[in-house]
Subunit: 87 residues, 2 copies
Amino acid sequence: MLWTMIGAFAATLTMFSFIPQIARSLRTKSVKDVSPVTLFQLSAGVFLWLVYGISRQDQIIIVANAVTLVTLAVLIFLYFKYGGLKK
Amino acid sequence: MLWTMIGAFAATLTMFSFIPQIARSLRTKSVKDVSPVTLFQLSAGVFLWLVYGISRQDQIIIVANAVTLVTLAVLIFLYFKYGGLKK
């Protein structure tokens, strides 16, 4: 029970970890120090985790990675919007 | 077998996803667009995933999160080294 709670807390923290980065990018409108390779590599990995979770029918893996993938998609959108690749 | 390979590939991609961010920060010596809240929240989450993996004796969870935690520690070190909080 304790371990399940630790796992759930871990999932919650990591799942929403890019929300502060989204907030910062929206506020500063600057993304030049953010690595696009990290964003794309992480998105590809998280997408495969999602596929893996669906194959295993593991709801925690599915939800955690689906949420992370959405936040990463927003971040990639902002990256291009604020001209990340031009600088 | 296919799903295990997808899981392993997913773990490899996400585990090393902050290496390009480390390389970029080292190259530009600038971190002002990186969110420190994201770095700390993700580190706390990944640390708890590691604890969870140890409790479940799940080697994949242990290795993936241990590696990610080391890369995040390096990134937090660089963040302070390049004066992230001062800007």
